[in-house]
């Protein structure tokens, strides 16, 4: 008979976890957690239940996840930015009959939940924890910007399939994530820390980037992950110089050559890798050659149990890491053959595929199509540009036109220098792009909004 799949607590024991989980206010030892509880004796009451995890802090969330896996029937992870209006639908759709929150959270006030527990960042020894034997279903919420978020069902086996358990060789690993662990990308980092028994530095709500970076430096972060937008924001902060990670990881958005090169320049000794994953499709692949896009061979052969194909330009993925279904919705998650359509459009150039944008994000310029992301990738290559947002503006002549907002590396006050710089960026665009993709207007802005899921906030005007 096959060996039972370990629970998260089982992994902690197996890895002889020596790490600590930190946030701004507390530090918790994984060794203590392996044989203790953060739930003040309530874990037994949560056994077999559908538990809504709606804590305010990432640290109390992380601790509760370790305890609930293998004990609860289902864990529904509420991301910090879930709108209050949608909470009722999530509770109903997930058949929630228990909750875990923390001292900072009041979001469940007014909802009928039979069993309520509180997760605290302090561990009490527990003489008899319930055995973690159940196959807990994990529900993650998608980060769609419109409508009710979808609830996506995963198993721990699928969520951890891309991770090699056990300690990483060399000096002790300290993970950091700009991502919130309540989103798929951040959860992957949390799981890497647990399966490796490694430390993890978590941010607090509203914590400034400089303060987060300072804490990452204090804890000696070795492995750090975020979206390209997270990284661009971090690179604009002088405190970035205080950290020296061995591994830098990007995922969640297109990693263009400019951000990969910028990270290589700032961290010359680090391995810089970008990963492709989505809440529905799971982790598909890592790219570690320092180049944007991915080798075409990834599509042509089955790698690590992941199959990919390109249909109408859109990348489809099939593997054991993909989610099993949507909960509370009849919508099919995968096609008849089990492939998940990611909606990410790829383009083959030579022996490599490049991500060019989202299926729904196309701008139509008098019948010609543009993906905002492909224009941003060109603008971002300008040495004085830190990040950019390309969007459509309605045009009485062509229906729409491309405009760009650009954040510079350093904001100069010199008006004539700014005019020259705009010309220079436009020149770069004209060299690299067909005419209709060149922005009609470029404006310099001090910053761009990055949503709670770490992605550039896109809106059309």
């Amino acid at each position: 008979m096959a060996r039972a799949e370990p629970s998260l607590r089982g992994y902690l024991a197996e890895a002889c976890a020596a790490g600590l989980f930190y946030d701004r206010d507390a530090a918790v030892s994984l060794a203590d957690l392996a044989c203790g509880t953060c739930l003040g004796g309530a874990l037994g009451d949560l056994a077999g239940r559908s538990v809504l995890l709606a804590a305010e802090s990432q640290l109390t969330t992380a601790l509760a996840l370790v305890e609930l896996d293998g004990v609860a029937r289902r864990i529904t992870i509420v991301p910090p930015d879930l709108e209050a209006d949608h909470l009722g639908a999530v509770i109903a759709g997930s058949e929630t009959d228990a909750s875990v929150s923390d001292s900072g959270s009041s979001r469940l006030a007014g909802f009928e939940v039979p069993v309520r527990a509180v997760s605290a960042p302090s561990i009490l020894p527990t003489p008899a924890a319930p055995a973690a034997r159940r196959r807990t279903e994990w529900l993650l919420l998608t980060s769609g910007t419109t409508g009710t978020p979808k609830m996506v069902a995963h198993s721990l086996a699928g969520l951890t399939a891309a991770i090699t358990p056990g300690r990483i060789a060399g000096d002790p690993v300290v993970w950091g994530t700009f991502y919130d662990i309540r989103r798929y990308g951040g959860l992957q980092i949390f799981l890497r820390a647990v399966l490796g028994g490694a430390s993890l530095v978590l941010s607090c709500a509203g914590e400034p980037v400089a303060a987060h970076l300072a804490r990452l430096a204090d804890r000696g972060v070795t492995h750090l992950s975020g979206t390209p937008s997270h990284w661009r924001r971090a690179l604009m902060n002088p405190a970035i110089r205080s950290i020296a990670p061995r591994y830098v990881r990007l995922s969640g958005e297109i990693a263009d050559q400019a951000i990969l090169d910028a990270l290589r320049a700032v961290f010359p000794d680090a391995a810089v890798g970008h990963a492709y994953a989505s809440t529905e499709a799971g982790v598909a692949f890592d790219v570690n050659d320092g180049l944007a896009g991915f080798p075409a061979a990834y599509v042509e052969e089955v790698r690590n149990g992941v199959e990919m194909k390109v249909v109408d330009g859109s990348l489809r993925i099939r593997s054991l890491r993909t989610a099993s279904r949507y909960v509370g919705s009849e919508q099919a998650l995968a096609d008849a053959e089990g492939f998940v359509d990611t909606g990410d459009i790829v383009e083959r150039r030579g022996e490599r595929y490049y991500f060019v944008g989202r299926k729904g994000g196309i701008i139509n310029i008098g019948g010609l199509k543009v993906h905002p992301e492909e224009v941003e990738a060109v603008i971002n290559r300008h040495p004085q540009v830190r990040m950019s947002l390309v969007r459509s503006r309605r045009s009485p002549i062509t229906g729409a036109i491309v405009v760009a907002e650009v954040v510079l590396d350093s904001q100069g006050d010199d008006a004539s220098a700014q005019v020259e710089l705009k010309d220079d960026i436009l020149k770069l665009c004209r060299e690299k792009l067909p005419r209709h993709k060149v922005p009609a207007v470029i404006s310099f802005v001090p910053s761009l909004q990055v949503g709670a899921a770490g992605k550039l906030a896109r809106r059309d005007g």
């Binding site: 310029i365 008098g366 045009s395 036109i401």
Partner: protein, 82 residues
């Protein structure tokens, strides 16, 4: 302050330069179709004029009137900017 007409002339020259187009002499009776800018060029011009003059008179207008000559084009902006 720069006149509306002068702003338009400068922006047209700029767009023509960027797009590698030769601009015809900008007389009032010049047909826009003969000006040297194509529809994408005009789309860029209108977007930029919206930023520099603060108005897109074509989108703001209730009737879908589009000028035929350069003089009419300038007039639409002069009326719209008021």
């Amino acid at each position: 302050m720069m006149s509306v007409k002068l702003t338009i002339v400068e922006q047209m020259m700029q767009v023509a330069r960027e797009q590698g187009k030769a601009l015809a002499p900008l007389k009032d009776d010049l047909a826009l179709a003969e000006s040297g800018l194509d529809s994408l060029g005009f789309a860029v011009l209108v977007a930029r004029l919206e930023d520099s003059l603060g108005v897109d008179p074509f989108t703001a207008a209730e009737d879908a009137f589009f000028p035929v000559t350069f003089g009419e084009f300038v007039k639409v902006y002069e009326n719209g900017a008021r």
